[in-house]
Symmetry: C2
Subunit: 324 residues, 2 copies
């Protein structure tokens, strides 16, 4: 087996640096695993980089700030418990807006049985919402990016490209946004796939791999392949894409498959599990996962179509990091 | 006894709102206390609000971002364990600068036996460093702002106003900053008073009160009085002020006592403990605390001088929040 080589983005290079400086080899997964079995994750939403406040609105923003962090707990199959919220608020943000943002953030946390326990308020020129979530490893096990093995089945939840389709509607008329409610909701109010992650971990325990596709399906597949030192092949015809995503892509002259692989912010789960476990589970009507490919010993991640086999390129994948 | 009334700043009003929205009455202390005895705190340092990058430098900034958060753990007598760091980086920040910042931040954490376990990197128009610290409640107990009782002795670590004196040197020549090394260091590289807090909690356990004076001595005294529903009187002549702070204040035409009360960012501890415990400890040469006053049943916080008794006014105290 040839050890696969993947080029790193500048964000990933910096994460590699920080691992070295801190002497902590475990940095780089969706959550840190603390001694004793706790999970910790933090993600900041930065005005101008991740959102335009007037476009998304305070209520959706509050929900999203919690949801993207809860999604990182889902990415390891964990149970979220406590949220800590740091708000940097420009002076023109009104108390009613802070109320909308915070009640929605608290509401999202409570939907998934977690609570806001504290935080920090500070003034600043732009709105920054940093959420830290502390959770527990699931009693059945914990899945990371590095657990994929040759022969594993590659599975995903939901569908891909919908958030990217919703992003296309940002700045468009309200009528246009309401015309495509599914993709708009997927963009402004993503749902962390916690129940789905628990159903997987109950089936497979520690044996397999998992992450969330916050930076696109291509990125998720490449991260798993890289961390696990394996190759992956997925079938183009198996990639789940919602009909509305296809409609919006066509309306805006884009390729829905491109959005699925490189759009980002879908917050779906991408994982791998043993063939045997999958065979016993795949026909169960409560199974929320779809099979899209196989783990192999090749040196990369490939998309198989009827005609050809295309290597997926990390450089194209969505990053909130394009400037560095 | 008359219940003291203190006017709230806009930051404190917002914290009260968030307590109501979240249904969590415990929000508002230096750390959140989790079930099982963990402490969690988060503080963001925002470019332009808390620092000017060129003035403080990346190395000091990294140290300070860790130190101010470790100070919140010290404020409850806890033991810091894990740090999670969210960096929002402008595109012009070089890799060497990120290295200086992160190695210094990691170094500060390690000095106090804590480790950076994870975080988040994102691009943004200004530099924002959000640090979350997870710690453990000290085995001897946990002190909050609300534990002060009438008759308690009011004690503090170190000295006050030094960081404010250092702030005066920001933007001045390097020669001027080097002329006053003590106050400059206190401003750019504050030390969390962890050992001091542990020595207090070993003596007094859960009986007393504690916080850190991040927003000034006046603010700390008022917060303790408000949370504990007591009054406090401190003696002007007992307030520890470093000779260099006095020199800088004189050189810049300011009042060092004003800086001590309202300057902020000293990160000294302010607490109260029973008279009996203090009497048995105060003459011990390893005791890092200084007595500055008494807890009483009056309706406010007062500064006693030879001539008069002045009520301390929260509105004057230092807040990173002046715009809201």
């Amino acid at each position: 087996m040839t050890a696969p080589r993947f080029e790193l983005t500048s964000e990933q290079k910096l994460v590699e640096d920080i691992k070295e400086w801190s002497g902590n080899k475990h940095i780089g997964d969706d959550c840190a695993i603390l001694p004793g079995g706790q999970l910790v994750t933090a993600d900041a939403l930065v005005e101008g980089t991740h959102f335009i406040t007037e476009e998304i609105g305070y209520e959706n923003l509050g929900w999203k700030a919690a949801a993207v962090n809860l999604s990182d707990i889902a990415a390891m199959g964990g149970r979220p418990r406590h949220l800590v919220v740091s708000l940097t608020l420009p002076s023109n943000v009104k108390q009613t807006s802070v109320r909308q943002l915070m009640t929605s953030l608290i509401g999202c946390a409570k939907t998934y049985r977690a609570n806001v326990v504290g935080g920090d308020l500070t003034a600043g020129p732009i709105l920054v919402i940093n959420v830290t979530v502390i959770g527990d490893v699931h009693e059945s096990g914990c899945l990371t990016r590095s657990g994929a093995q040759v022969g594993d089945v590659v599975v995903v939840t939901g569908d891909f490209g919908a958030s990217r389709a919703g992003l296309e509607l940002v700045g468009k008329s309200k009528a246009e946004q309401e015309k495509y409610p599914y993709v708009w909701e997927r963009h402004v109010k993503p749902k962390p796939r916690l129940c789905e992650s628990w159903s997987l971990i109950r089936k497979t325990g520690n044996r397999g791999s998992l992450m969330d596709a916050s930076d696109g399906l291509a990125d998720a597949l490449i991260q798993i392949a890289r961390a696990s030192q394996v190759g992956i092949e997925v079938n183009k015809s198996d990639i789940p894409i919602h009909p509305e995503t296809v409609t919006v892509a066509k309306a805006y002259g884009a390729d829905p498959v491109d959005w699925a692989f490189y759009g980002g912010e879908d917050y779906e789960l991408v994982g791998t599990l043993p063939e045997k476990v999958w065979q016993g589970w795949k026909s169960n009507e409560n199974n929320p996962f779809t099979e899209i490919g196989r783990v192999d010993s090749s040196a990369g991640v490939f998309l198989k179509t009827n005609e050809k086999r295309i290597a997926l390129d990390l450089k194209r994948s969505f990053q909130h990091w394009t400037d560095l």
